[in-house]
């Protein structure tokens, strides 16, 4: 094992602040806090408030996003979305830096400690369960769109007070497409790039059982109201799995208008193969897709002006200067840069053009959404004052 001196979180925050101020010319409000009372926020936001959480489940570094060299990769986030929202420069993840377990930690608000590589329900209640049980929301009101590697169990916890009865529906776009292509993969070579499942190592997911396939096909037609033929034809027009996820999000919004939707953009985890250009291409795509999602939201009467979107990477990646790592390729060192990322929140009642420098944690998101929407949570995180 090799290790290096860690960069302090303080220096990371300072660097980000400088970059952002230079780039945007916006004022920073280090200690500013909006004083919306919980009850007021809750009454204003219910019952029609919508919440969308977008995570970058590939881990994205400052260097390729909001730092000086990275800003060219995120023109939409930087120029279109950031001025409309509140930007947190330091979101610290103190847990395990594996994508499934880290995303599970984000949705439970508790640092989960289970094996990242085994698909299992989180032991702590999820955001979806708190939301549906707390507000008595119907089954179709909470959905997750996720990459397939383990995430199929993220919709609900194994906690006996909650569980599947209160969980979210989970859609795995790659599994869906795979199910729609039985015995056709040889003919549909042009679609195989949408099926890449796991970038930690160069492997792909084994074939699914016939039962699993039928379940996915049933979901396609009953939930998304899309025929297999239409779905495959649309997939043919796409360049990546993340684009497929956005398409499915749009279908879900159109068919069910869920109040709580979470999706994970995963293409950028190609970084594990060590090809910098592919990693950056995926970040640029995620940037474009975030803006596209915002446009979808603003053009849909069900969502327009009543939707709050939170965009955050699950964590960063190893720093260039850490001898224990290999720069952008992995997230294995546990260094400060790998643990520290950012979050952008935008929507009604969110102050525009604000940059918050103080450190928050990724587990703070769930209690914050609870505070805003008016349901109770019991997590290791805290409500983010600037958002409630």
């Amino acid at each position: 094992m090799e290790f290096s001196a860690a960069k302090s979180p303080g220096s990371i925050a300072r660097t980000r602040r400088e970059f952002l101020c230079d780039a945007l010319g916006v004022l920073t409000f280090a200690s500013a806090r909006q004083s919306f009372a919980l009850s007021r926020a809750a009454s204003m936001l219910q019952p029609s408030a919508k919440t969308i959480v977008v995570t970058f489940g590939g881990g994205a570094r400052d260097d390729e996003t909001f730092a000086e060299d990275g800003q060219q990769n995120i023109p939409h986030l930087l120029q279109e979305l950031l001025p409309q929202g509140t930007f947190f420069t330091q979101v610290v993840n103190k847990g395990i830096l594996g994508h499934y377990v880290a995303t599970a930690s984000i949705v439970t608000g508790t640092y989960e400690r289970f094996d990242n590589f085994i698909a299992q329900p989180p032991p702590n209640p999820t955001l979806f369960e708190y939301f549906r049980k707390g507000l008595r929301r119907p089954v179709n009101d909470a959905w997750v769109i996720a990459p397939s590697n383990g995430f199929q169990r993220i919709g609900c916890s194994s906690n006996s007070a909650f569980g599947p009865e209160w969980g979210a529906g989970v859609i795995l776009p790659k599994r869906l497409l795979s199910a729609a292509l039985p015995g056709r993969k040889g003919k549909d070579v042009d679609l195989l790039h949408l099926l890449q499942d796991n970038y930690e190592m160069p492997v792909y997911q084994p074939e699914e059982s016939e039962e699993g396939r039928e379940l996915h096909l049933a979901m396609l037609e009953s939930t998304l109201k899309v025929s297999v033929q239409e779905f495959v034809e649309h997939a043919r027009t796409l360049n990546s799995a993340d684009e497929l996820s956005i398409y499915i999000a749009q279908q879900l919004m159109h068919q069910h208008a869920p109040s709580l939707l979470m999706l994970t953009l995963h293409d950028m985890d190609i970084a594990h193969a060590g090809a910098f250009s592919l990693y950056v291409d995926a970040i640029q795509r995620a940037d474009r897709l975030c803006a596209e999602l915002w446009r979808i939201v603003q053009s849909d009467p069900e969502y327009k002006d009543r939707t709050t979107i939170y965009i955050l990477p699950d964590f960063g990646r190893d720093s260039d200067g850490d001898p224990a790592g290999n720069g952008f390729q992995h997230h294995r060192t546990g260094g400060a840069l790998a643990r520290t990322t950012w979050m952008l929140a935008l929507g009604p009642e969110i102050r525009q053009g604000r940059v918050v420098e103080r450190a928050i944690e990724s587990v703070d998101l769930v209690p914050t959404i609870g505070c805003r929407l008016g349901f109770a949570t019991s997590t290791g995180g805290r409500c983010i004052g600037e958002l409630v």
Binding site: M1, E2, F3, S4, A5, A6, D69, K94, G95, I96, L97, G98, Y111, R113, F114, D115, F117, I118, N149, V189, L192, H193, L195, Q196, N198, E200, M201, P202, V203, Y204, Q205, P206, I270, H272, A273, G274, A275, F276, S277, L278, V280, D281, D320, G321, P323, A324, N326, G327, F328, Q329, H330, T333, G334, G335
Partner: protein, 419 residues
């Protein structure tokens, strides 16, 4: 001897589980290869004083000494000798944070003496899941920082060639390294490969130590006879195809078995050895055999992308062989397609020169960072050339960062002027 006994792994005969470092004995290293055994025995007093959370990391390096590069042996020797002669209270202070790491009883029962790598893999997982990884990391940083750097560090020359077949405008590339040095814009493109060879030879002739000089190519290598220079190893991606293809084949077998989780794949790849992958068909040298094998079994990407292969090889060389002269030449990698396709088709169906250039630019920056770690201030010369163009960046003691020189000069003159 009963016939069934022959099938028992030799190391199980020496297995002692639940041993604490302070209980280590010379006999525990009987299975180790000669150099490793001698080293472990002569440093037994140190190993006995280390906590269990760090002792296996030392043993892992010791265990492999017989197939390690001379620089690796020297580094380990220096570190262990330093810690061995350290006053007891100072060593205790440095190792105390490791002693405070809580290990599960299951882990403590492992046979970490005979299988340190397996122990470390499980320790790492446990450190993460128990939330102790940051403490362990901090303790490691402090321990290794206490070891003084060697007094004498050699001059090092690094040459990187990239951009083959790419059409991106020259003025838009090499920006990241360009900030650290002088961008040269008036080199004679048609003469550069022979000038690079001359510079390599000139620098390498100062020392003929084995494994001190390296030429790594991601495609068909230049015809210049690098191998004739004493102490030089030349290797290319196509030359290592037998190992790479065998690795891909094994990976596909694991995938097809239905047990293809990332963790499982990593464990099974790490367990692959040179014999299994046929590395002996590439080289008879046991040090190189291990090195080439691990380039594909302990990495993610070199199996499918030649650009990752070159970068990773450079990284591993800097960490392990600590080359005095290093030439890395990038070639276009295959165009991205789903991994399962790339696993099945070791030969690229089409190439991506533009993406490869962007990969290589970042990789060149990483090589500069890596070389800086083992180079004394003022003793490093670094050149990255955009192949087939008149453009290069040179970083050295006399190269002001972020500047440009349009004066016509050859590489030798540039090295004299800026390094």
């Amino acid at each position: 001897m009963p016939s069934w006994l022959r099938y028992i792994d030799r190391r199980t005969l020496h297995r002692r589980t639940g041993v604490r470092p302070d209980q280590l004995k010379q006999e525990d290293f009987a299975r180790y290869a000669p150099v490793a055994r001698a080293f472990a025995e002569s440093h037994l007093a140190l190993l006995q004083r280390l906590p269990l959370s760090i002792c296996p990391s030392f043993l892992q390096q010791i265990e492999q000494l017989d197939s390690s590069f001379p620089a690796e042996r020297a580094t380990l020797q220096r570190m262990c000798d330093f810690l061995l002669q350290l006053a007891q209270d100072r060593l205790t202070a440095l190792t105390e944070p490791f002693r405070e790491i809580h290990l599960s009883s299951q882990l403590e029962k492992k046979d970490w003496v005979q299988a340190p790598a397996e122990f470390i893999a499980e320790l790492t997982a446990e450190l993460w899941s128990s939330g102790q990884i940051d403490r362990f990391r901090a303790a490691s940083v402090a321990l290794f920082a206490a070891v003084p750097a060697p007094e004498e560090l050699p001059d090092r020359l690094t040459l990187v060639v990239l951009g083959q077949d790419a059409t991106a405008p020259a003025s838009t590339v090499l920006r990241k390294v360009g900030r650290r040095g002088v961008t040269l814009t008036a080199l004679r493109a048609e003469e550069l490969s022979s000038q690079i060879f001359a510079a390599f030879r000139r620098h390498a002739e100062a020392s003929s130590e084995p494994y001190a000089h390296w030429y790594v190519d991601g495609g068909d290598p230049w015809k210049d006879s690098y191998r004739t220079i004493a102490g030089t190893v030349a290797v290319s991606y196509p030359e290592l195809d037998p190992v790479r293809i065998q690795t891909l084949s094994r990976m596909e077998q694991i995938v097809s078995s239905g047990n293809a989780g990332a963790e499982e794949m990593r464990a099974r790849m790490t367990a692959m050895n040179a014999q299994e992958l046929g590395t002996y068909t590439v080289t008879a040298d046991p040090v190189l055999r291990r090195f080439y094998t691990e380039l594909f079994t302990q990495s993610s990407g070199p199996q499918i992308f030649s650009t990752t292969f070159v970068q990773w090889t450079g990284r591993e060389l800097v960490r392990r062989a600590q080359p005095r002269t290093l030439l890395l030449r990038y070639a276009p990698r295959q165009r991205y397609q789903p991994f399962n396709e790339m696993l099945r088709e070791p030969e690229p169906s089409s190439l991506d020169p533009e993406g490869s250039l962007r990969d290589a630019e970042m990789a060149a920056y990483y090589t500069w960072i890596e070389m800086n770690r083992i180079t004394a201030p003022g003793k490093g010369s670094y050149v990255v050339w955009l192949e087939n163009t008149s453009r290069a960046v040179i970083i050295g003691n006399g190269a002001p960062g972020g500047t440009e020189s349009s004066n016509p000069m050859n590489l030798e003159q540039a090295l004299k002027q800026f390094c």
